[in-house]
Subunit: 549 residues, 2 copies
Amino acid sequence: MTSTSTPAPTIADWRPLAASKRAALAQKIPPDWLLPSFLTSTISEASTQNVLSVPGACGLLSERELDLTTDYDATALVELMATRKAKSAEVVQAFCKRAAIAQQCTNCLTEIMFEEAMARARECDGFLEGEGRVMGPLHGLPVSLKDSFNVKGTQATVGYIANLSLPPAASNSTLVDLLLAAGAVFYCKTNLPQTMMTADSHNNIHGRTLNPHNLSLTPGGSTGGEGALLAMRGSILGMATDIAGSCRIPALCCGVKAFKPSASRVPFGGGVPPGRIGSPSPIAPVIGPVGRSVRDAELIMRTICTGNTWMLDENVLHAPWRRVDPVTRPLRFGLIRGHAKRPLHPPIARALHSAATKLKEMGHQIILLDDQIPDLYETAILAWKFFKLDPKKTAIEMIRKGGEPAVPSLKTAAFKELEGWEASLDELWDMNVNQKKVVKRYHEIFVGQELDAVVMPGYQATAVPHDTYGVTVYTVLQNLINYPSGILPYLKAEKELDQAFFKSDAAYEPPYAPETFEGMPAHVQVMGKPMQDEELIEILKVVEGILAE
Amino acid sequence: MTSTSTPAPTIADWRPLAASKRAALAQKIPPDWLLPSFLTSTISEASTQNVLSVPGACGLLSERELDLTTDYDATALVELMATRKAKSAEVVQAFCKRAAIAQQCTNCLTEIMFEEAMARARECDGFLEGEGRVMGPLHGLPVSLKDSFNVKGTQATVGYIANLSLPPAASNSTLVDLLLAAGAVFYCKTNLPQTMMTADSHNNIHGRTLNPHNLSLTPGGSTGGEGALLAMRGSILGMATDIAGSCRIPALCCGVKAFKPSASRVPFGGGVPPGRIGSPSPIAPVIGPVGRSVRDAELIMRTICTGNTWMLDENVLHAPWRRVDPVTRPLRFGLIRGHAKRPLHPPIARALHSAATKLKEMGHQIILLDDQIPDLYETAILAWKFFKLDPKKTAIEMIRKGGEPAVPSLKTAAFKELEGWEASLDELWDMNVNQKKVVKRYHEIFVGQELDAVVMPGYQATAVPHDTYGVTVYTVLQNLINYPSGILPYLKAEKELDQAFFKSDAAYEPPYAPETFEGMPAHVQVMGKPMQDEELIEILKVVEGILAE
């Protein structure tokens, strides 16, 4: 599943190195958990099959394991373990099994730690038994991690061949330590794109992750392994990173929920960066959860931000999680319906329209913002300029160092407008002024119109064919202005219903292919106010509730 | 009092423009409030006289006015007005008078708004009378402002000749609006240096502000007008800015208190920048109070940060002021005793030693950090590189545009090591890495040693002769790492007592001149943890109390 469309490498033969890493990973799946070859033989990035039913149908999971992995969110599962209605060992085993199945179907994992996880789960069970209390708010809970997190004893190649020669991590990422202290159990790490700057989770070590709803489509990126794993219910809660949408794109492609908090609330320390450190860009990468419910996002955010998180990471803002009241009043939502250069595909337009209609029906107000906001496409180009500030082009250099080809999506994820563009220190000042103007304008809109949140697309389409996702017009905005944002899956592409939202004069990009997209999850994105992650969580709960009805 | 030591201007004759501005300012002092010429004729930057007794001795203030301007801090004065024991009109009139005297002695003002202030004070009194409640937590309180704040109808030249042609401000700085809503009364703005990047508050419009303790010494900068005005008790609370010490340096030069909060807690919007906007530097300018007591700093910080300040300024972090308990346990203080390139003058070494001794005697712990911290001098150079990132050299261009000469301290305030240094985008990445290293190291020290705060000098000396202050080794650190910090005046230079702290092998810079410095206020600086401004306020109260004993 590795790319062969790019020129042959010039430095060393990376293929055996990558094959050896993949073989080592495959070895970590117990033979009992292997799918029969009649199932695996049909898996390919060209297949259009939906593999979501495989875990239930393959017979590898017991009824109890299917129940534990299917019928709960993390909050409920922690409650189940805290009240001794389930042991962490059985919960973790169930998720390990299901993750193994997800891996065989979608190629979503980069590291497998099933044995360590089972030992840890037994430790949690023993603690509860012995002490009569839970380890912490995540007691016994399996949590999956994007490959860029460091877990002691495990590699974090972040998809660079050059990193294959690095020894296993000697220490944990700060967040890993924090979640361990809260009782979490780590059992796998998940796939991502070479450079982490594309929406196709594809690299030359692990190859390409596939979308379990339709293997021929992208699971999104850069945290695409999490998206596929969660959709397969091989995880209940995963930790992602996001600098242009990397936590939200896999969620909207795979039909799960994501929460991108404001910058510097979740400790980012100790991970592996995909490029040069020391960027003068005002856009900070953030860590956020991908999962099944808004209350799970709240659980993990509260766990992370409670207490003195700054003690663990010098770059965390000391801004302890605030208690805010649930929403009991009508809310004012701004509505952004997209940009002419990336018009909404009919399924997304329908989902957005339906969501706005439902919110209105429930007494909330909708204020159309399309004509008030700064040009979304230009705003995204500005953001991407900030990602191109490194004169040393370190990410490209990392690829070169590994003697590996660039993955194809590196080309399609870039703005053509920035081809050949080179940053200068002088222009950086002007870029900052422009960034502040965008920040100011959204502030004026939120304050002037007394908005609580903005409902908008996270992407113009459902998941699309591999390597066609293109530029991230609708998700990079929230990084540029540092507003928190959540993705909620809502409706599915249904070509007959979607027809009403088809516009014959729209230049759909990538092309709208109703047959291909049929049944794929659609979504809405809800953007809150900066550093008011607490308030956004409450608003998301309201929207989640209304959309579920 | 304008500089004549630099080359004559080449573009236009700036002198009549400046003289006209100064004349307009002088006109705003009521004739009744003018000091007799036998007093004013002795005022000069070469005079070593102490003018602190002038307000009491000149006969212009009534007993009541002397009492109101002398015997209270802002917290007490607000209480006095709220309980109708004083009217805002009499309080404001007293401070206007005293500010007029301070201006005649030290040349500390740039804008006078006495008439507007009296009208506003009467408005406050009327409100209390009519509504039976105060306007807000600063009801009726006179507050002075650095010139860089915008007040509707008033100029904000920030000391550039080129800005003299600008019309009066059409709107208020965000903070000005916020404080007005809290009941504040604005009555004057205060002097600062050309470019705001020197510690001599000296420009070609208003000339040089003098230190009221000794007119031949600097009042510090860039908020030097506030320092002089507060020392003269012509203000009870002033608002300063700080990017390398500008709020703290005038406090330590003039014997008043200062508090530099963490970045982005106080709204910075709507002011006049001294240079180019859009800097990619990680060092953000902050606003902080200069005043008489730590509880006044708390009063103003709580007033500013309570509620949804973000609604007023898109760059404010939504981090509402937290209630923290007063300190009741022994504290752990780090102690930094200086750098060999800027050894502490004996009065400062004695003040620091005495403060540490007193803290220890009261049961607090002192941990010596000198050998653990990154090189302070190199750290300061790194910070100053960030101030030199503008390829367009906008500040220099502003001077050129006005056809005015540079003030002499622009040379002495610069690191010789950076002469000819030009920033590049590539080096900026490395500078950021180095900045993060410094941040990480101080974090390790604070966390590893379980420190509550660090006691250190804010400068190696008391106030020094004009144009000799030099580089800001001890105050720019807190900006580079974004730690909050306070200045507390403590002890005075007494050459006989200081003798014990004299080191014959120390290269004092600027030179130690015991006769010149005799009687000048010494100080300590107390640095807290980032975004824990609330905790630092409580710690400062403890130190303030112990040092007062």
